[in-house]
């Protein structure tokens, strides 16, 4: 088997807070092959954004290992991390706050080139190329972020990420602040970029429909743990884990002929400060039994490339 581009094993991250320790990420493992798109889906407190920041080396894990092309980035100094930073770039949710308002687009993108001493002899030409790649044009280079719409700003953010020729794009809710029509533009752009540049994508989102469209594989997260991971179409069509089922059933479908949205979970997402014992989902799970409160389910292979962390797997048939 070829070495994955990104591999994350037994990753954990806890944050001390004034009210106790938050276990944001708890023993998470997955890998992404070169050119592959992997989706992390989950609701508030699932740890999906923290995983993105860990993978970039922006924060250090409490435990576990992150490897790029087989090489661990654990414990590397900021200087030693630099070549890895070039391999993976981030696209943020909020295109308003992630661009420096005082810099022209030319300098926002140019800064990324300069950091890694790229295209220094043809800086302007390269900036124009990058703008073209994201559907903007060279004339936009001299403008400031406030002169652009939300969708255009997200394009600038993507151009900045692409400037250092990364192999992996980590996109944290990149379209959730955008209108539906603009969302479609950015999703299509990401698909085009993947096709033309062979980019791998770690796509972090709460929107299951978008993940299904963009990603080959997916992991469903709940309170810092992976509940289920596998090929996107299989997980979305026939979810194994009770949480995946509940999550998918709760998505309103823009099709009045489709089955109605269902409420398959009760109550709120528990506080990550005080997660339930055993299986973290058991407090909202219709299938929970005695052992679910004491035994922690491990992610176990269900079918080829498909794993599920549920003591009751396989569940009774789908409704």
């Amino acid at each position: 088997m070829t070495t994955p581009l990104l591999s994350v094993s037994h990753l954990s991250k806890s944050f001390p807070t004034s009210r106790g320790i938050v276990q944001a990420v708890d023993d998470v493992s997955f890998s992404i092959a070169a050119g592959e798109a992997f989706g992390l889906v989950g609701e508030s407190g699932s740890g999906k954004s923290t995983i993105g920041r860990l993978a970039l080396g922006l924060i250090t894990p409490t435990a576990g290992d992150i490897r790029f092309s087989g090489q661990s980035i654990n414990g590397l100094s900021e200087r030693a991390l630099k070549p890895f930073r070039r391999q993976a770039q981030m696209v943020f949710q909020d295109p308003y706050s992630s661009l420096n308002p005082r810099l022209r687009v030319r300098d926002i993108i140019g800064e990324a080139l300069d950091t890694h001493a790229l295209a220094q002899d043809r800086r302007d030409a390269r900036i124009a190329e990058l703008l073209d790649m994201v559907g903007l044009n060279a004339s936009h280079a001299s403008r400031y972020p406030h002169e652009f719409s939300g969708g255009q700003r997200q394009r600038i953010g993507i151009a900045r990420a692409l400037a250092v020729e990364p192999r992996l794009l980590i996109a944290d809710e990149p379209v959730s602040a955008l209108d539906v029509s603009v969302q479609a533009q950015i999703i299509t752009l990401l698909q085009d970029l993947r096709r033309h540049l062979g980019l791998a994508l770690l796509f972090i989102s709460h929107d299951l429909d978008i993940v299904e469209l963009l990603c080959e594989r997916v992991a469903v997260l709940y309170l810092g743990r992976i509940m289920e991971t596998g090929p996107t179409d299989q997980v979305m069509k026939t979810p194994r884990h009770p949480y995946s089922r509940a999550l998918l059933a709760a998505v309103p479908k823009a099709d009045p002929d489709a089955p109605r949205m269902k409420r398959l979970v009760s109550g709120d997402i528990p506080s990550p400060l005080n997660p339930p014992s055993g299986c973290v989902f058991r407090t909202r799970c219709f299938y929970a039994e005695g052992p679910c409160a004491t035994d922690r389910p491990v992610l176990a292979p269900a079918e080829a490339g498909w794993q599920c962390a549920c003591l009751r797997d396989p569940l009774p048939e789908h409704e």
């Binding site: 209108d179 539906v180 029509s181 479609a184 949205m261």
Partner: protein, 341 residues
């Protein structure tokens, strides 16, 4: 979820709410802008009408105008009527009502919930105190009867362990629970019209489902009408009997939900539906792709507002503004809707 056949029984009474060629303007330093132009919509008792649109479409301004909550003194109704049928079976024009009369109707007959409950809840009062205040004001209850009513309101919105949660402050509650408190406040006086402005947009999807089902249950039980403002077409398909679509401050289409999602009459509605990830279609290489609407939402045409972004644009669309025309069961603002049907 919503049963369309329910409506026929109510219709003989005339609509509960009829917005008729409403325009809303704002005074600004450099003149007057009119973000809502010539908007008409109707809502019947017991019905859920979704008001759909992207940023800047005017859907929220329309709802604020109905509620008499336009920011003063900048915002004002520049033309049109908002006819509302009161419980006393009188029809009043909300656009003409005095501030005091409007305040009297709000809370008693009309209520509104918003995307972010924290902006509407008082952070220094417990939720029990806040609901009690509203109930005292509108129903004149006090003492034990008041407490019982407050608890009943919290039970109504399915807040577990209501007797204990009454003493919680808003910040001690989750976003979903705060939205339930907002709904309890809105329902305290049994309104005949509930305006819900993106009430689930900030919530997680499993919580959103709970809130949507709650609002729909309350609609069924009380017979109130719901004007549900949203940009989420999935939510629309789940909860609405009918849909009014806005673009650039105008209504471009109104239709029954089911036919609209099958085949809309207006090119914008169809284009918006094609932007939904679930509706992506496989291209020649088998990759599922979307058909985005070109251009930016803020770029509006002189004649037909959607003309600059419309795939079906012709010369006439750029020369004069289209009027709202009646269709089979709705209305549409497009010169070409018959050719495109």
């Amino acid at each position: 979820m919503a049963v369309a056949s329910d409506q026929s029984a109510f219709k003989q009474d005339g609509p509960l709410l009829a917005v008729d060629t409403l325009s809303v303007s704002f005074r600004q330093e450099d003149g007057v802008s009119t973000p809502v132009r010539d908007v008409s919509l109707t809502l019947h008792q017991g019905e859920t009408l979704a008001l759909v649109g992207e940023s800047g479409s005017g859907k929220s301004v329309t709802s604020l105008a109905i509620m008499g909550l336009l920011p003063r003194p900048a915002g004002f109704i520049s033309s049109g009527k908002i006819r509302f049928q009161t419980r006393a079976k009188q029809t009043v024009d909300l656009a003409q009502l005095s501030f005091d009369d409007m305040r009297h109707l709000r809370g008693r007959e009309m209520a509104m919930i918003f995307q972010e409950p924290m902006t509407s809840l008082n952070p220094v009062l417990t939720i029990g105190e806040q609901i009690a205040e509203t109930v005292r004001l509108h129903l004149g209850l006090s003492g034990r009867a008041l407490q019982a009513h407050v608890k009943a309101q919290l039970d109504l919105v399915e807040i577990p362990d209501a007797a204990r949660r009454m003493d919680d402050y808003p910040h001690q509650m989750s976003g979903g629970m705060r939205q339930r408190v907002m709904i309890a406040l809105a329902m305290a006086c049994q309104p005949s019209l509930l305006i819900a402005d993106e009430p689930t947009t900030a919530l997680d999807v499993t919580i959103q489902a709970q809130i949507l089902l709650l609002i729909d249950r309350l609609r069924r039980e009380t017979g109130m009408a719901v004007l549900f403002i949203t940009h989420n077409l999935g939510v629309v398909a789940e909860i609405a009997d009918r849909v009014t679509v806005m673009y650039a401050g105008q209504v471009v289409e109104t239709a029954q939900t089911r036919p609209l999602f099958r085949k809309a009459a207006h090119p914008y509605t169809n284009a918006l539906l094609s932007c939904l990830p679930a509706r992506a279609k496989a291209d020649a290489s088998g990759l599922r792709r979307l058909v985005p609407i070109q251009g930016q939402p803020g770029v509006f045409g002189e004649a037909c507002a959607f003309a600059p972004r419309c795939p079906h644009v012709t010369a006439v669309c750029q020369t004069k503004p289209p009027q709202l025309e009646l269709t089979d069961g709705g209305s549409v603002r497009c010169f070409r809707w018959r050719d495109l049907a």
